[in-house]
């Protein structure tokens, strides 16, 4: 029987060699995704460990009691301040999408302007977190104990929000570096704005992690 030469099928064609199986995804973007996957494991492990400890501690603090303060307003407003922080981070994600979109159109001014708004959003979020940490620490919540209940609450709160906050801080620094590169015209010279897209992925990931931290620390 003669061997019939077969055309590669639709499904196997991307893997039949000679070209990237990921389409026209740049190496930087692919590596950013792999990094974000590893970061997702880190945050996932933190949150699962937190759930485990919380489950076995009977006197876990009630988040509505712990997070009931806001600047100017004072006490008695549960979740108001953290709601504002969540909103700021989501809006900064939106301006980041707009910056990436402007980059695709090679619109230097638009990309720079929206990236600048994103940086402002990040800095506002960090300031809010600084206020919240200060408020909690002055109220007696430390790594070794707190007035609301189980001591592990403070440990996990400062570990996880601190790790997230340091991600936001490094994101702001990365955004600043790329903003300078946009303004210098680096990306017009090399012909693409891929780097804006890569740091955009990182920024959205930070927003994504906050969605989980918000639910598991503040709502549940």
């Amino acid at each position: 029987m003669a061997v019939v030469a077969t055309q590669p099928s639709e499904l196997s064609a991307p893997w039949s060699g000679g070209k990237s199986p990921f389409g026209n995804v740049s190496w930087g973007k692919l590596m950013m995704w792999v990094f974000l996957l590893s970061d997702a494991f880190t945050f996932g492990s933190f949150l699962i460990a937190y759930g485990f400890i919380r489950f076995k501690a009977p006197n876990w603090p009630n988040p509505e009691k712990v997070f009931d303060a806001a600047p100017i307003l004072g006490h008695g407003y549960p979740l108001v301040f953290v709601g504002l922080m969540t909103f700021i981070l989501i809006v900064s994600s939106v301006t980041m999408v707009l910056s990436v979109e402007a980059g695709h159109r090679k619109d230097r001014k638009g990309a720079a302007l929206y990236l600048f708004y994103t940086i402002l959003g990040g800095l506002t979020f960090l300031s809010c977190q600084a206020w919240e940490w200060t408020h909690l620490i002055l109220g007696g919540t430390t790594l070794t104990g707190n007035p609301f209940g189980a001591a592990q609450f403070g440990q996990f709160f400062f570990l996880i929000t601190g790790f997230h906050g340091s991600h936001v801080a490094s994101g702001v620094i990365l955004n600043l570096v790329v903003l300078i590169q946009i303004l210098r015209g680096d990306f017009d010279r090399i012909g693409h704005y891929n780097r804006v897209e890569n740091i955009g992925l990182y920024w959205h990931f930070v927003d994504l992690v906050w969605v989980f931290v918000f639910t598991f620390f503040y709502l549940l």
Binding site: G23, F41, G51, F205, L208, T215
Partner: protein
């Protein structure tokens, strides 16, 4: 021009609107529904929905090759394994400590 506006709506404002509505709904649930399994399940479902919209639209995963999506998302099953293991362990330790 019309097509650019359509994609901008589709890629930015549509997911933003959904994220905004889910966040508002989370606050409504936080203040109206009593503590319990139903509340927990609702919150987890809302969180996963938000995670989907951020990944699919903001991070553009929906518009990439499925190969990329599989390679990045399938390893996260391992987190499910960790969750299952510690859940089981947590129930045992709870019984040990408090005789539940």
């Amino acid at each position: 021009m019309a097509t650019t506006e359509h994609t901008l709506w589709h890629k930015v404002w549509y997911p933003f609107l959904i994220l905004f509505i889910i966040t508002v709904a989370e606050f409504v649930v936080a203040f109206t529904v009593p503590k319990g399994t139903f509340k927990t399940v609702t919150f987890v479902a809302m969180t996963l929905a938000k995670a989907f919209y951020i990944t699919a639209y903001f991070m553009h995963m929906k518009f990439e090759r499925v190969t990329l999506a599989y390679i990045i998302i399938s390893p996260l099953i391992l987190l499910g394994a960790l969750l299952a293991a510690l859940w089981y362990e947590g129930v045992k330790i709870f019984q040990l400590l408090f005789g539940g």
